[in-house]
Amino acid sequence: MGLKDILVEKRSEILNAWSDMIMDTYPPDAAVFYKTEKDRFLNPVGYIVNEGIGHIYDGLLNGGSAETLAYAIDRIIRVMAVQDIPPSKAVSFVFMLKKVLKDLIGIDTTNNVIIQELNDLYDRIEETALVAFDVYMGCREDISRIRMDEIRQHGYGATMNPHILKRRRG
């Protein structure tokens, strides 16, 4: 059995553990909510994270399109970027997969093929984390841009209409 077969077989187990590990970085009372509330509308954070890591996992395994991968990372990081989570901690959700893999799959250390495959996978995880870092910075830029737009067109949260703006400037 190759590494990929193992990973496909243990997909849901690995994803669950990965998801739990991410949720455990929240205060315990929130973590319980994020883990147990299954309604995607009442628990958007849980939903987005679970959906996202599923895509990332499949992408890493099957070499899915860069776009899907980037989108999934973006969804998760976008949430973390407004949640008072510093970039280092936000990006760490990707590395958690490595820990989960180490814990969950019993690797036959004598099987050089699998070890090689695993190392390749670890490399891809690290690359993904670098992408996640870029995404995080992008999200923070989005936030500042949105905020700057508001300040520029200050009208109690509303974008001022062009006529008023003209008048104020003139």
């Binding site: 455990d24 970085t25 929240y26 205060p27 315990p28 009372d29 929130a30 973590a31 909510f33 994020y34 509330e37 309604d39 995607r40 509308f41 009442l42 628990n43 958007p44 954070v45 939903y47 987005i48 976008r78 949430v79 407004v82 949640q83 008072d84 510093p86 280092s88 901690k89 760490s92 590395f95 490595k98 820990k99 690290e126 984390a129 989005d142 936030i143 949105i146 905020r147 737009d149 508001e150 300040i151 200050h154 009208g155 109690y156 949260g157 509303a158 974008t159 001022m160 209409n161 062009p162 006529h163 008023i164 008048r167």
Partner: protein
Amino acid sequence: MNKPEEIVKDIELTPKKGDWMTPEVEFKKGRYCYGAPLKHQQYLELPNPREWQPSDIDWRLPDNWQEIILKGMADLLKKNRSFRLFMDICVRCGACADKCHFFIGSGDPKNMPVLRAELLRSVYRRYFTLQGRLLGRLAGARDLTVEVLKEWFYYFYQCTECRRCSVYCPYGIDTCEITMIGRELLNLVGCNIQWVVEPASNCFRTGNHLGVPPHAFKETFDFAIDEIKDLTGIKIEAPINRKGAEILFVAPSADYFASPHWFTFLGYLMLFHEIGLDYTWSAYASEGGNFGLFHSMELAKRLNAKIYAEAKRLKVKWILGGECGHMWRVIHQYMDTFNGPADFLEVPVSPITGTRFEHAKSTKMVHITEFTADLIYNNILNLDKSRNDKWRVTFHDSCNPARSMGLFEEPRFIIKNTCNHFYEMPENTIKERTFCCGSGAGLGADENIEMRLRGGLPRANAVDYVRKKHGVNMLACICAIDKAALPPLLEYWVPGVEVCGVHELVGNALIMKGEKQRETNLRGEPLNTEGEAEEKE
């Protein structure tokens, strides 16, 4: 070489544990609103005025601040059954815990409504109940310290008074009431935010939140009239302060100063022209919104007084109100009590259809969607739905019209009659269970952007769902704060969905007598886009 995971090891991943009794607040940029400027505190004659920021270590409270707050609490307990009752009867069942959009989005346990109330309740127990005085912490009681006060400020300005939790509470405990009381108490020692006090002060002085004087107010009307002329070839009128008109129309000032509210404003003007309504705007009561509500009952009453006063002065028969959320909370549930009885007005009757608005017979003020729905139902309006075909529309119930009025079907009826493509968001995120935009109750400040984005996540997530499923690209709503807060929110979470008012859709669809062939919608975008909408089917 350090492997990435080794670096990660140094990062604190496990959250701090502890109980909520120990107050702990850190004012970080992006997560709190700035303090109110001295000038505006003074203009409104608020207590303990000073230049002040929540992030200051020393809040420069009056020496006897504890006494002031406790006296205030005793006073408010005497004056409000809701306060007294809600302090006593909560069983901490936790049904409300996951209903708050701020908790859902941030995971901060003190955003659970039950805990927001406990912040106040713990002090109530300590000073107003036997077991709290005797047992202290064991009975869940806390001393009123500066840290507790700071925590109050942090979390009472992290509640949008949306009342969603109160729908789920088995005893109807309303966190909005708790927050209002908390803010009243904070106000007693001079802790207010700029985003509430400045518009309130502007509104008190000039009549609107932006503090725009009457001539500038008039000018925006001239712009609107020109724009409508370009669009339809029709020159409409927009009377201001006209005595003897039948109806006074009051809208949130954002409608004529801000975008995308502006297009709703055009919609009102076109509609009123088309049906030949005998009405007037007022430059004195030029603000429907009432930021006093987010500060104290007294300030809310002071600002609200203008509407009836102006109706009386202009000798109108009744009042029509524009699309605004908290404005309608005040009008529906407070105005008559504050500044009534409106015995100088008549029971509203639509001059076009003859419908008597019996449900507004005491307050004498009708919501624009009630008025327009009645027009459409009586086939008064000539509507061309296809002019809104560019949009695949969903409707966001704004908290106040939803949970304080029960205004659900009127706006939906209008949308269905002005648009071909209307899709509801999931059932547990609309109507009385609607999610807040995250910027209500005065929290829409730009400096508070991160908190707003967190709070808006549940709403945005439901929008994302209908966008993916039905290709929704337009979110209609009937609240000025929504129209201001949702565009940036959606820009961050769900790019590609725009925000409009219901009367913008009316303005687009309305076929006016003698109008020229319309080439663009109210936003100036080309109308001929049938192809686009078809493609998505």
